[in-house]
């Protein structure tokens, strides 16, 4: 690639890419669908990843590698040895450390040009709108239904695109919700009764399926930022790792949806533990103390 204002992304204002950045992102910038202008769009973008675990790890990693300018992470969990079978942002020496800390260190080690914002606290009805407002695109890597409905509702109220993914055993699901084109409640109006659908901790999950689904989520984020391709809006991708079949289901906005339907009945965030019938989240006191002192 030759040097120059248009080639190194200086056009459109802002600082030009350094030679290091041009080399780092060259395999993206050489593609017509990205180019220097697209690479600048990535650098100017901000993406919130909810959860720094199985899905959040590959999503955040690929966002950082690609040079997405600001990556936000929300998590308050501690790295456990059982996480290391799939959560690629954390390593053996991180066991016992806050995930948010090891995740930030990993991302910054992979790409020092990106800013990693950390929100070491549980995302709740009290803080979700404030956190989500700080980002362009939201990625859901939550591990429970209550958080999934919370993030869905907050993203909708904020007018933000939500890139959704979920996993269990050998299966994965991925889709993209854009306000006005359906939401998680259109697809699954209410959660299952507590205990009916097991969690990954209860039933297990293939480590590599998190990489497949997380990579798809990251890809959808790139497409949103770059405005290229055909997004997973209105479509639900089902992935079966055992058969390696990918199925594409049609998803429609439900006019009767209580959130985004024609006559919505939900106009603010609710108590999602009550909605899902799950016990309130018990957050360690040290995490609460840290959260109180941290900017939301």
């Amino acid at each position: 690639m030759t040097s120059g204002a248009s080639e190194n992304g200086a056009q459109g204002g802002g600082s030009a890419f350094t030679p290091d950045e041009v080399m780092r992102y060259s395999r993206h910038m050489i593609m017509g669908q990205v180019g220097p202008v697209g690479q600048r769009q990535l650098r100017n973008a901000s993406v919130l990843v909810v959860g720094a675990g199985g899905l959040g790890s590959p999503v955040a990693l690929y966002l950082a590698l690609a040079g997405v300018g600001r990556v936000g992470l929300v998590d308050f969990d501690i790295v456990d040895l059982s996480n290391l079978q799939r959560q690629i942002l954390h390593q053996t020496q991180d066991v016992g450390r806050p995930k948010i800390v090891s995740a930030k260190e990993s991302l910054e080690a992979y790409n020092p040009h990106v800013t990693v914002d950390t929100h070491e606290l549980p995302i709740t009805s009290d803080n979700a709108m404030e956190i989500i407002a700080q980002y362009d695109i939201i990625v859901n890597g939550a591990d429970n239904f209550a958080t999934r409905y919370l993030v869905n509702d907050a993203a909708y109220f904020s007018g933000k695109t939500l890139v959704d993914g979920s996993i269990l055993l050998f299966d994965g699901q991925a889709t993209v919700y854009k306000p006005g084109h359906g939401c998680y409640r259109c697809l699954y109006p209410a959660p299952p009764p507590p205990g009916l659908v097991p969690s990954c901790a209860e039933a297990g999950v293939l480590g590599a399926i998190t990489g497949i689904v997380g990579s798809i989520q990251a890809t959808e984020v790139f497409k949103q930022i770059l405005d290229i391709g055909e997004p997973l809006v209105g479509r639900l991708l089902l992935i079966d790792a055992l058969t390696m079949d990918f199925r594409m289901m049609k998803v429609r906005r439900d006019p009767a949806c209580p959130l985004c339907g024609d006559e919505p009945s939900i106009d603010e965030l609710i108590d999602y533990d009550q909605f899902c019938g799950t016990p309130p989240l018990i957050v360690p006191e040290e995490v609460l103390q840290a959260a109180r002192g941290a900017p939301a």
């Binding site: 199985g54 269990l168 199925r247």
Partner: protein, 92 residues
């Protein structure tokens, strides 16, 4: 008429670990009934206590969710593909 039903991995332990099951049925309801006969206990996966399909389960016919069709009374044709898909919460 034979209809092929896709069983996702969370449900397979109730279905002899099969990912595809072929059963007879002219409607979605008949197919679900046939699955219960073949795999007793299947009802508990796809029906609530009032024998309605709960909202965390989506049933697709040829990749279209049945609420946009005729629900469990959706008619099926020979060779139709049915899929019974639950919401997944996992992310960690």
């Amino acid at each position: 008429m034979p209809v092929s039903v896709y069983i996702p991995s969370p449900f397979r332990r109730f279905m002899a670990n099969r990912e595809q099951v072929s059963v007879e049925g002219g409607t979605v309801r008949e197919v679900l009934d046939a699955l219960e006969r073949a795999y007793p206990g299947f009802d508990h996966l796809v029906y609530d206590s009032e024998r309605r399909v709960p909202t965390h389960i989506n049933i697709y016919v040829n990749n279209r969710e049945i609420h946009g069709l005729a629900g469990t009374e959706t008619s099926l044709s020979d060779g139709d593909q049915v899929a019974v898909i639950p919401a997944l919460a996992g992310g960690a």
